[in-house]
Amino acid sequence: MINTRDILETIQMIENENLDIRTVTMGISLLDCCCDDIDKSCGKVYDKITRLAERLVPEVDAIEKEYGIPIINKRIAVTPVAMLTAASGGDPVKYARTLQKVADTVGVNFIGGYSALVQKGFSAGDEALISSIPEALACTQNLCSSVNIGSTKAGINMDAVALMGKVIKRSAELTKDDNCIGAAKLVVFCNAPEDNPFMAGAFHGPGEPECVINVGVSGPGVVRAALSKIPGADIAEVADTVKKTAFKITRMGQLVATQAADRLGVPFGIVDLSLAPTPAVGDSVAHILEEMGLEQCGAHGTTACLALLNDAVKKGGTMASSHVGGLSGAFIPVSEDAGMIDAARSGCLTMEKLEAMTSVCSVGLDMIVIPGDTPADVISAIIADEAAIGMVNSKTTAVRLIPAIGRSGGEELNFGGLLGSGPVMKINTASPAKFISRGGRIPAPLQSLKN
């Protein structure tokens, strides 16, 4: 029989340490739905997704019950809608409404893929889609959007960077009566992964199969609890403990992923080994860093602790799953993490420190509330900085900023649910206008020449 201690440890993780599977995301290719009439194309999109994802929610709920593991979200990621717009023309917002209707029909929490990949330049459909993002996010509840504006191979598309500053601001303005939620559903990427199951950045890349199941795990609370049992240990032992814990968490993800894929008759894609926090007490990545010995997240030493954590999570998780992908690492979304919220409120965690942390975390500047009067070119410049970190380090970086329209320092936005709440953070507003207005493309770095 299985060891008693192991059994109790698993129960403890689920009951008291918030271990859960964050998301089961079904990726669906919509390439065969393209046609030259947008209404016909929308009809095909609706039919195809509702057919393939019809059993997603009930089957995943059944797995949750049978295995006793909480599975928080069921989501869908689709082919970047800019590709459909390229063929069909017309107003892309029609696709947004169709995807919302799909989400309502199949009962998923989010549907991602209102996206465009423009790292090297705009092709047909891309600009129309990007310009329509604010309206699309304002007239839907469960749709998520992402735009890839740079990569290590292609460099950074500065025209897209300039455009995205305005799009983020407009998205917030159109939803200003609802905590500017539009901007919280929009992420700007450099080196976007094509198989990421996490929102808001999930989309089904063009290199992906017809239909696939990707799973994202969670479990910051479990890691923190494991570290709290070794208060005097040296740092190598800390890393080892994170590795072992990440292994166990990921095994759970692998089990759910293979079960879901089997029952739905769809290939299993990847497990995303991410430590994804929630605003719930005891489910915070910042608290792991504090457990390692920092007074508060944001103190000097934070970047080093995060680097160790991110690396150990990958080392532990890799062996636990047959296929690893997505973002895989530690997320640092400010408004979604109780410890980060506290650190941002107290002023210990600043924008500059967050930027430094993104050079070693798995994503980027995530869920950060900025003053509503921040000029669009400053937002663009933040995107450019973040993309540069991703481009040079061959890693994914992302920007998800929420301009709090009509609010300034000291005030807060409250999104509720998993998106949490966050204080308006102080940012440097010295003007980068001339740099942003130059346009063009930052050349790909030497790191891109690997052949």
Partner: protein, 89 residues
């Protein structure tokens, strides 16, 4: 399938018989039981076979949870695979 039932709580009369009774009337066979008492805290782990079960696993699990609430015990029933996957390489 096989499932692992864990019961943790203050030791009182009839815990084992209560859980066994729920298993019996649902046609669930108990394969193995281990129990220990750590500082008055009762801890029992049961391995059961669901092969001949007359209820679905989730109904069975709900019934155990309800009994747990009544007797002030934490009772969980989980698929055996969860533990095998997590703790065995």
């Amino acid at each position: 399938m096989r499932a692992v039932i864990t019961v943790v709580g203050k030791d009182t009369v009839g815990i084992l018989s209560g859980v066994s009774e729920v298993c019996a009337h649902n046609g669930i066979n108990i394969i193995e039981v281990s129990q220990s008492i750590l500082q008055e805290l009762f801890c029992m782990i049961m391995l059961v076979d669901m092969e001949g079960a007359t209820v679905t696993f989730s109904d069975f699990s709900d019934e155990l949870k309800a009994m747990g609430r009544e007797k002030n015990l934490q009772i969980h029933a989980m698929h055996e695979d969860v533990f095998n996957t997590m703790h065995h390489v």
